[in-house]
Amino acid sequence: MAYPYVSDREVRILSKHFGDPAARTLEGALANGRYEALKKALEMDRGAVIEEVKTSGLRGRGGAGFPTGVKWSFMPKDSGKPHYLCCNADESEPGTFKDREIIRWDPHQLIEGCLIASYAIGAEHCYIYCRGEFFEASSILAKAVEDAYQAGYVGKDILGSGVNVDITVHIGAGAYICGEETGLMNSLEGRRGQPRVKPPFPAAAGLFGMPTTVNNVETLAAVPHIVEHGGEWYRQWGTEKSPGTKLFCVSGHVNRPGNYELPLGFPLKDLIHDVCGGIRDGNALKAVIPGGSSVPILSAEESEECALCYEGVIAAGSMLGCASVIVMDETTDMVKQVRRMAYFYQHESCGQCTPCREGSAWVTKILRRIEDGRGKEEDLETLVEVTTQMTGTTICVLSDSVAAPVQSSIEKFRDEYLALIRRGERVGAA
């Protein structure tokens, strides 16, 4: 029985029903115990729900890893204004495909998480912002929301508790930048999907100018389990600073790519060689991107000792991000793959900040030139300086994301760049 691949080293909590079409239906979901946590939460004080999530130490799974309970506690208590929850299902980071799977296989798990979170932060309306290309997932989700409305789990006076939470599934138009939380809010409001300047932060003035919390799909999907079993229960997995389990999206040159739910702190080495069945064709490992395209590349040596928790990946020289592990074997053309990432960012930059708008396109052109054999050695210095100029100077961190692959690859795989440059020089001279 195998959702594409499973491993016995997994701890399958969020992904328990991946691969089981029955879990999508309301009946199936109820049989799996969905909405039990909601009932429990509705009997708790809002503050107690937040406390429980704080106790669990759950950290945001959208990339930044901010403690979820703490984020919720930023929401004002008696603002007298409508509050909103935005569920971020824009999942567009290259290498990431976990949120889509949660929605496809267990949508009621997410809906339940949205309801509990809405209750905790005092929101009566939750928007689930789905990536534009999620045709299948968003229709499954829309159907599940409709069923949940019918059954009285969503809407007015949920289960007779007097609590109201509406859920709207909104489908984006296919822009990576709408996954950035303030870009998401602009897009929901019908404006250009581009990030806002902070402050004000969403908890003060977010969607429609009202107090808002934005959470990732996986973050919210973990909430019902925490409420049901308690924060301490969640801490039995993971590390002190990174409690719980996490979905790892493994792609690239491994024998068994896919989603694996593992306790945080899991060794990267074991993920590649054991869980994913090793590198394809018995090739040697060259590099790993541990957290999606926005984080620095780890060399094979660096990946050896890397523990897959927030602090562990930082210690290894990168970031856990959204735990999208891209594995590259010795056949990988590093310059080409970095150029393709840079191209992605130049294409997805919203274009408002000059360093990002101009820098991402410039960097891509330089990389393309090097790839085409028309590079110069000083281009490498230019690339590093230009990406440094793009770091910390913009409204959102998309700009910084360009620096990660470029700078880390030049540092760790400089020879590959130089080889292309030298070959080009020889051809040019001939």
Partner: protein, 527 residues
Amino acid sequence: MVTLTIDGQEVTVPRGTTLLKAAESVGTKVPHYCYHDGLSSPAMCRLCLVEVEGAPKLQPSCVTQAQDGQVVHTGSPNAEAMRRGVLEFYLVNHPLDCPICDQSGECKLQDFVHAEGREHGRSREPKRVFGRDDFGGDVLFYGDRCVMCTRCVRFMNEVEQDPRLTVVERGNRSVIDTFFERGLDGTNWSGNIVDICPVGALVSKDFLYKQRAWDLDHTPSICPSCSQGCNIDLHTRDNLVQRLKPRTNLEVNAHWMCDHGRHNYEFMNRGDRIEAPLVKEGDRHTEVGWKEALSTMLDRAREVGGTVRAVASPFSCNEDLAALKAVVEALGGGEIVYRLARAEEEIPLKGMPTLARRRDLAPNGTGADALGLERVGDDDGTGGLETVSSHDGVVLVLGDALQDQAADFAGGASLFVYLGTHASEAVQGGDFILPVTTFAEQEGTFTNRVGRVQRFWPGLQAPGAARPAWLVLGAVASELTEAEPANTAAEAFSRWVASNEPFAGLDYASLGTRGASMNEPVSAAGD
């Protein structure tokens, strides 16, 4: 109030002041594109980054609010390096076609790159090309020069509140565009986007390739096209007004002026002027010197006597009108009327409720009223002169060229004196035709519709023997009353204008470049 330190200088500013403004208050200009005093702040150009001690990143000074005890460095190595970097980014796709760019010389990209940029940009890649687009109205768009500050989009959205522009596409494919073919046609304030565009991306069709910015002289003035009194600069060269630009005065027009006023300047350049005093002898006029003209005129006036009926113009300044009034009084009193064309309706600027192209299409109707002149005629500025035309005493006409009047105007007058810039058929009957200057050629003040008295300065040289009317009429009045003549506009103001109750207490010099209100604004209501 909060107290902070900027570049080692302590400064106290009101709470909520941005670092950019706080720095400005101690004389430090932080370069910026997207920020504009009259618009919202998107903080997107990233050029205004400064270092704030304790902050992990450089902060955009345009939106970062000053805090007590903050220590800010606008010129620290880090801040300068990053701004140099941002400036380099601006040049990656910029055409740098300064030699054929209208903005050259007043371009913020030139200025900032010269001040802080790298000596050489490092980009060797082919540039992205958008080309040129006609945005409609008076506006041409050179896409490749755009720095994507969105000032133009925000002006149309927030100030004119007629959204006609937008950013299409994203990333470095972003480009400003109009909605389909609609463009800017039919808008009334869009000329302002050319002014606020920091580079040569938006240029005026009217001014296209006309002059180089550095050749133009700038003279502070007041827009003569309606009673709002927008503060402007005359940009002149070769003794011609080349264009008008708004001059910031938050109490009158902020940073803006309407397109109607902006493009109404050719009349200041009109050539067919009266250039010398003319005295009628028989049925022809003879050129004479000023001295002779005035002394003969005085003799004639003393000789004929009788009541005076005068016609003035709301395009004349307070000094001219008041001097005319003094002459009329010295000649034994009489009536002064003026005519003023009125537009069908106002053209409001939605984002600034106190600013509109007003219905009164002249700058000084309020001044005329305050001096006791009487408005006559129709809304198109014609008619109403029957009693003057048939008057058998002295008829004085100042500034109104009498275009609608017949050749026998004031045919029965004992003395008909015309002071003006241009002659018409009706003027030909004048016993004396005296050349005076336009407002663009002289100093003076206009009183706007809410009673704000505002100064203007001469930007053009007067042709031939033309002199300011206040000087001419002032000389006549002082002859008649044996008073000291007024030799400067300031003297004319204090002698002839300030002696009128509504203007009492106003001091010419202290009006400065921004003006001051009359004690009791007359006709403040209405339009």
